[in-house]
Symmetry: C2
Subunit: 209 residues, 2 copies
Amino acid sequence: MPKAKPVTDTTTEEKIKHAAREVFHQKGYAATRTRDIAEAAGINLALLNYYYRSKEKLFDIIMMETMQSFMGTIIMVINDNDTSLQQKMELLAERYIDLFKVEPEIPLFVMIELRSNAKNLLEHIRPKEFLMQSVFAKQFQQAIQDGKIPPQPFLHFMMNLMGMIIFPFVAAPMFKNIGELNDQQYLSVIEERKKMIPLWIKATMKAKS
Amino acid sequence: MPKAKPVTDTTTEEKIKHAAREVFHQKGYAATRTRDIAEAAGINLALLNYYYRSKEKLFDIIMMETMQSFMGTIIMVINDNDTSLQQKMELLAERYIDLFKVEPEIPLFVMIELRSNAKNLLEHIRPKEFLMQSVFAKQFQQAIQDGKIPPQPFLHFMMNLMGMIIFPFVAAPMFKNIGELNDQQYLSVIEERKKMIPLWIKATMKAKS
DNA sequence: GTCTATAACGTGATAGAC
DNA sequence: GTCTATCACGTTATAGAC
């Protein structure tokens, strides 16, 4: 069981939110009981409602902050004018893997919530707008025009890149079993991928379409 | 909303199980109410308990059958002595994509269940045993010994292959939004990947480690 | 086998003492 | 602010008529 970040947890309000983040991430909205959160926070159930009104309101806060972690990572990287396409891929792999090393449940949590609440979430975060108009996307198209890579759909490229980064976290139990690895060993395997993913992706981009 | 396979649904017992499979896949165990299943099956709630005793027992059956779909696909392919490594990759991409086109919720469902019930499920299906001792794994090692590909970990190869196949289904809402695609269009994008994935994977295998 | 009515239980939320 | 006790409600499961 991976622990979330080392936090001081000063106020009761923060203790509750911190516990909620962990429990919601691990079990999802429907399966977590407010009593689980209260217990994890070491406080009484009534306090949860005192500070956050309801389970749903608390969840919305966690959801928003989690999406911010998830999207913030990519946003900071893909619109930097001073990095190349190749460097952006390296940064994406590095930043995401570092994020998920601390909170490995985020990817699956986000995918589940996107399924059950796609419409709401997507029109709020608008991945299409900021991704397709990013420097990253433009550099990709430029590389094609410059003949550096063959013409190919940006979507497949993104699926492969994000899949290589994220999928090992989504399917961690399976791969840990296959490789007979404990949590720590598994993380060091994933650490290797930081360097490899950009090379692999580069190779796929040159493959004939 | 993707529909599950066209089925005759003869008996009441089958109608219930078919409805349960759909609802459990779409919403997960905790979020589905037995009433949802009864309604989807067009029967009364009491009948569900009459045939399957409890929500949990019904779920266990669905889980088992789903894992069978999931693992059965790979098992049939990876131990065939008459196909090459390359052909096996092609078959895996084709079979899995065909399966998930019919029931796109399976991948996320399986990942969620593996998270919340890893120990039980994994010691029952033992992916490590049958995968690592498969003809597929042996052919992979042989290709390295023959100098056809550089030495590299089988686990990374599997992560990349399975990730390319499965991840687009797990993160479908996100990619549909990015590409502005409806369900049908999205499936035809994924269909393209059947041919491309083996080429991409081949390219990654030749990249320097 | 299939239904209606209801029992038994778990969970979210609140009242009210301190 | 924090607690205990309790309410109100939804859900699983069953009893019993047909």
